[in-house]
């Protein structure tokens, strides 16, 4: 997929299983949105194919569109409508019976904002409403493009709970993010993307394990911080305990961030 001379996505190939929570992880400009939009059928790749249950999403088959729920990277709302009116309007587009809006508002924790216009909602509330709009027709597959971008940590954690509950209720969730911790906390499998390619694809745990990175153990010795890097943290900790040197102990294993650094050989720039 190219935009003029820019090769935005190149040779990307992956499969998402039903019921899976799948993450596309990478810095801004990696090609996550482009990839997701090809899968949703919004963009036609110059080469290659996308299929959802053997249907080409670019055909905009109504049957398929009723099965997928989409949250785009920008908050796409009708101007000057209240939260409930947005849901009523989107619901009518999918021909769902009226009266589900209040239940949806409750599901995303916006009951008390039902009559507030979307322009007056906070960033986190907009994201929640945007997700609710993607759920009006109870889709089996949900695509979310950076749902937690630009949220404060508190709002981000709140949203995680909502996203987990979507997946727990049996939906397939495909999400993009540039937060390593988010991918690690939510996703069954993660594809790490950079510069239009998938560098690695596996469960977060397997990705970190595959790195075979040393564990960093920090202790305080005579008020001085001492760092030990080891591939056998069990023995190192036992030794330290034997010497009664566990003051100010902290143990840090490798994270997806380390995996990313290792893969790209450069600083992560979200």
């Amino acid at each position: 997929m190219t935009y003029g001379a820019v090769k935005a996505v190149d040779g990307v190939s992956f499969t998402v299983e039903p019921g899976e929570f799948f993450g596309l992880l990478g810095p801004n400009g990696a090609g996550k949105t482009t990839t997701l939009e090809i899968v949703e059928g919004l963009r036609k790749p110059h080469a290659g194919t996308a299929r959802i249950d053997d249907v080409d999403p670019a055909t905009r088959a109504p049957g398929l569109m009723r099965r997928i729920g989409v949250q785009l990277q920008s908050s796409s709302f009708f101007e000057r409508l209240t939260a409930r009116e947005q849901l009523d309007t989107f619901g009518a587009l999918y021909d769902v019976p009226r009266g589900r809006s209040d239940a949806l508002l409750e599901q995303v924790g916006l009951t008390d904002k039902a009559d507030i216009r979307t322009e007056d909602l906070s960033g986190g509330q907009k994201q929640r409403l945007s997700i609710a709009c993607a759920l009006v027709h109870e889709p089996d597959v949900v695509f979310l493009d950076e749902p937690t971008a630009a949220l404060d940590p508190q709002a981000r954690r709140n949203l995680w709970d909502l996203l987990r509950s979507l997946n727990d209720s049996g939906r397939t969730v495909v999400l993009t993010t540039h937060y390593m911790d988010e991918a690690e906390a939510l996703c069954d499998r993660v594809a790490i993307m950079d510069a239009g390619r998938i560098l690695e694809l596996d469960t977060p745990a397997a990705l970190v394990r595959g790195l075979d990175a040393p564990v960093r153990i920090t202790v305080l010795v005579d008020g001085e911080e001492q760092v030990i890097e080891t591939r056998d943290p069990g023995r190192a900790l036992a030794d330290l305990a034997e010497h009664g040197a566990l003051d100010g102990l902290s143990v840090k294993g490798a994270t997806l961030e380390d995996v990313f650094l290792h893969l790209t050989g450069r600083e992560y720039r979200a």
Binding site: R60, I68, L72, S74, L81, G91, L93, D95
Partner: protein, 358 residues
Amino acid sequence: MSPLPISAAFRSLTTAMLKGFFRDKMAFFFAILFPLMFLVLFGGIFGNQGSSKAEIVQVGKVAVLDDAPPAAQKVFEQTLDIERTTSEAHAIREVRKGDADAAVLQRGDEVIVRFSRADQVKAATVQGIFSSIVQSANVSATGQPPRFSLATQQVEDESLSAIQFFTPSLMGWAIASGATFGAATNLVVWRRNGLLRRLRLAPVRTSSIVLARVSVSIAIALVQAAIFIGIGMAFFGLKLTGAWPMIIPLLTAGTLAFMAIGLLAGSVSKSEEAAVGISNFVVLPMAFLSGSFFPLDGAPGYITAIGRVLPLKHLNDGMLDTMVRGEGPSSALVPLAVLLGFTVVLTAAAATLFRWDD
């Protein structure tokens, strides 16, 4: 699933767009209150000109006025506003102050008209009126029926009273700018906030989205027309004289043509500001050249030539013909054909420039 899935989507989109419009104070102001302000202003400034009567102070008995036959009395009523007094000094004072245009009195067989030169047009009018009153009184004194009679007919809009001219013309401008701005900003905003693409992923046809937008714009145009005509009739003495129900097809075709212009403006604009700027740049000069703000009767030939290729000129012409020039429904046919022609060509142009996203 209901038998007509389109209609639920169409209804909800229409509702959403109408709410969006009526809750947008700026859009509401510029589409309805702003043009109305011009109507009130122009109606007020020029309101008394077309139908103004000469104000006369009559001193004592004046036979040519008092004893004129009923038919002549009726003409006096239409042209003269007569105040009666017995004091000549009072009458002269009124004229001096400018409260009356002339004082009239009779001494023997002599009718004396005293006027001020302050308003020369009025002074000339009054003199003209009275010389003809005196002449016809002379003719009837001979007992012979008059041989010649005078018939007058208006030929230009200058002869329409101000409100009769301004209501249709300003209405044309209001409808044109409402449709243009509505389509242009709607397109840009929805493209920028991703709603266009979001709607693409819903099982609605593009045609129901377009149809919803068109219906909303036509509804807004109907509201504009109703308010214009209502205010014109209630406060400024507007009289609808022609096949005025033709304004409904006219405003529909006008809305379509100017929505197409708006789509074109929205397609080439990256931001809402640019869309508004381009719309203004197109509609405002067109309004001047189409005679929305003043009649073009006295304008040089090249101005009227430009006007002939502008859709707003045809919209205005159709509105004037069917609302105040007393013309029949067929007078709307040419404007309708021209407006629909513009719609087809401009929509085709906009379609080639259309983008779902930035």
